[in-house]
Subunit: 490 residues, 2 copies
């Protein structure tokens, strides 16, 4: 545990983010460029996310499976836009053997082990899965096919940042095949809704969602829908996506089924995913200048009990702490920090940086008064709780923290959303507080590109509310029925 301070947000937001992650011991860079090590505390958060998300995915009728990490190079080329989207950032396996170097001091690639066809480490699994699906599906009875996979994927990013953008990351990818377009499109929307419910109910994060523009959609998709979250610095973060693949991949991979009417048809597909990137979003949504702040739902440690004592009161205080832990029996993730080689103040500081929602301080005076001091991480507020009703008090505090973090996230999103009527206005907003900017856009990619190149803001999505609203494109002035969300994003 590093004891260094944390850069303040208004001083250097990027450094603050890196500091929070380091001090909370969530992850660190590895020797391998762009690949992070997810440390035990960070991974425990991921496990809590996985558990709840897996439950929701299974509830929606999907079954987990596992497909190979390697994708033959030729598979990529089968769907023309797909290969373009991923060709520039993939890890390519070309050989399968090392041999001793001539100077005997190391190993070199054995050139005689060159592969006939190169293999790509999966950046996403559409191609390898759909090649398989083409053998699994032959009749309408095989549909819908609803598969999900938890896996690692690799995208050779140039500029990386822990959780937000890494060469390797962990994710889930859902892949579904339907006999008709309506059902497939319904699921694209359902899974988008599932993600936004999950963000709100579990991660205490309010998000917006909607369709992506042509230039921002997934390589190979008919349409991509995205969930967008708002960070404290006013930048947007794409939290997850849901893709309507239409028949594009079915045609590329020869997936066909015999329908009830006896005719052979191409089915309709969709895919959707979220990743360890969510942890970056959580950090940037809830944390403060003192370090990580976690919603109780995903805190590996929900409550930490810290004894404060002189040597002669030690046994008494520790035993009282154990009684409290006992009293909190129904609450998961309660720990007593009984280390003797660091001070209570050091412990306060350490657990604060780790974002533990509730700290319970116990000193000799608290024992006399049959109480304990509860401190909540998000606001720093203290309250004395009688020992008899301590479980209720802690549960109430945990719930209040969860609710309050969600409210703050909503407020952030609302306060950082601005409607503009002109390009000048958009530039003014972006140069000051950033945020989501609602503006009319005609749909022409040249107008979109102009905004991007001049302001770095991209179209994030077209929400339901933005559809059908009348106005004029802020660039070319043409009539527009769509108000898009623009933002500078991570």
């Amino acid at each position: 545990m590093s004891n260094k301070g944390i850069t303040k947000r208004d001083q250097d937001y990027s450094q603050w983010y890196l500091d929070v992650i380091e001090r909370a011991e969530l992850a660190e860079n590895s020797y391998v460029r762009g690949c992070m090590v997810i440390k035990p505390y960070g991974y425990a958060i991921w496990e809590l996310i996985q558990k709840e998300l897996d439950r929701r995915i299974k509830e929606s009728g999907h079954k987990n499976a596992y497909f190979p990490i390697f994708i033959p190079k030729s598979f990529f080329s089968k769907e023309a836009s797909h290969v373009k989207g991923f060709a520039k950032e993939c890890a390519i396996v070309t050989h399968y053997r090392l041999k001793e170097s001539e100077d005997g001091k190391g190993v070199v690639v054995d050139e005689s082990s060159k592969l006939e066809e190169e293999l790509i480490v999966r950046p996403t699994s559409e191609t390898i899965m759909y090649d398989t699906f083409s053998r699994w599906i032959s009749s309408w009875r095989d549909l819908p096919l609803k598969i999900n996979q938890w896996a690692n994927v690799v995208r050779w990013e140039r500029r990386t940042r822990p959780f937000l953008r890494t060469a390797e990351f962990l994710w889930q990818e859902g892949h579904t095949v339907y006999p008709n377009d309506e059902e497939s499109k319904k699921e694209v929307a359902d899974m988008l809704q599932m993600y936004s419910d999950f963000a709100r109910e579990y991660l205490a994060m309010e998000t917006i969602s909607g369709k992506k523009s042509e230039s921002e959609k997934f390589a190979g998709a008919v349409d991509t829908y995205g969930i967008e979250a708002m960070m404290q610095d006013g930048k947007a973060l794409q939290f997850g996506t849901s893709h309507d693949l239409g028949q594009n991949f079915a045609k590329a991979f020869g997936i066909m089924f015999t329908d009830k009417d006896g005719e052979k048809k191409y089915p309709y597909q969709n895919s959707w995913g979220v990743s360890t990137r969510m942890i970056g979003a959580i950090v940037m949504t809830h944390s403060d200048d003192n370090g990580l702040v976690l919603p109780p739902t995903i805190s590996p440690v929900k409550v930490v009990i810290i004894p404060i004592f002189n040597e002669d009161e030690k046994e008494k205080v520790l035993s009282y702490c154990k009684d409290i832990k006992e009293s909190l029996g129904d609450i998961e993730g309660v720990e007593i920090d009984d280390r003797e080689y660091v001070s209570a103040g050091f412990k306060f500081n350490e657990w604060e940086k780790k974002g533990v929602p509730v700290r319970i301080e116990v000193g000799p005076k608290d024992i006399q008064n049959s109480q304990a001091v509860l401190v909540r991480r998000d606001t720093g507020e203290k309250e004395n709780a009688g020992i008899e009703k301590i479980e209720d008090a802690v549960e109430t505090m945990l719930k209040s923290i969860q609710d309050s973090l969600l409210s703050k996230s909503k407020e952030l999103l609302v306060s950082k959303t601005h409607r503009v009527g002109s390009y000048e206005e958009l530039k003014t907003v972006l140069s000051s507080e950033k945020g989501f900017v609602l503006a009319h856009w005609c749909g022409n990619s040249e107008c979109e590109e102009k905004i991007k190149s001049e302001t770095k803001a991209t179209t994030r999505c077209l929400t339901k509310e933005g559809i059908g609203s009348s106005g004029k494109c802020i660039i070319c002035g043409k009539e527009s029925k769509e108000e898009w969300v623009f933002s500078v994003s991570y």
Copy 2:
């Protein structure tokens, strides 16, 4: 679901194994050489294994984390025997970009994207983890460090077989660092014991365990200990391993800690793992000529209810089935197979091949008699169960199946273990029923190699019982205090 038959074990054991896996829909080969697709039913078994194993690993104080999939080539060379062990079977990433081919019909590797240092797709994570550990550890207070990782690993095997030997497989790898040799060695033994308890209590498999010979140990270890299971064809299968790494890797990666006495020291390490190979072991231990047999603990479907009806009795029978499912409320994994486009007989056959422990048949007569017919998968025995006490009856049957599979596994292991006093005897046993052969061996690698090259049998392990037993090496005749277990193995 394939409706083809299953090859009989005594006809062609290898083909039987492949047939069982295919008909139960556990896995299939992918387009990528040696990489399998784990299908939903197979993956559901893996999830049940993971859940219980993860619980036991956490109970022993280990924390999950995640390390990069890529290992820099130079890391391998740091531990001399380690690189030798893995150099000939690794997937090597050399480039990171594809570009359009000159004929415009596909993509080729962009030679300008060659990596400065090649990356190896992890075959195991000692090197990448211990490089990191060298930064995590500085004081005795940082020890013991107890880390576990669930991940995919790649070993470029020439001859592959689903679950048993695949280019990519899923596993857990535990990695622990201790301040002294005693504690580290104790854990090597404890984790070996954990695996064998897990095999017995959860997978209904009896195993033996002990130290590996020099030639069979892990590349870089001081000692390797293995769990060995006995398959129905008399071949051994290495189920899991636990390695005493001593200070080998600590010295190679510069892991040092300041001890309580103020001195800088190299710590002691161990690592241990089991993989999706266990599923192959389960298949070959319990299954029969009718297909997969699963212990109830790891059956995704523990009970399948199959309605038998004519069109006019349909509603009545289905509603009775639902009542039964309701009555089995406390039992997880109960399904009603109400498909109408296949016959009851087809369903019996299908669920039998999937190894579902208990089948409940419900026809109109059963309703009249307020009963149902329970059929157990392992023996095929049928029994009528009154509807009032059906939960008890099913629970008793599930427990009896679990117990009986373990007994059978024990009997198999005992019946296929033979003590021999001479090389001739060993050859006779190996050429007839194979199995574990107990024989004295002097420890000399030439004698071991002679046995291996002439009979294909290798030393599997030296069990506790084999240590200190007096005899003569069956090859050279020298005095031996060690009776080793030899076997032909998977």
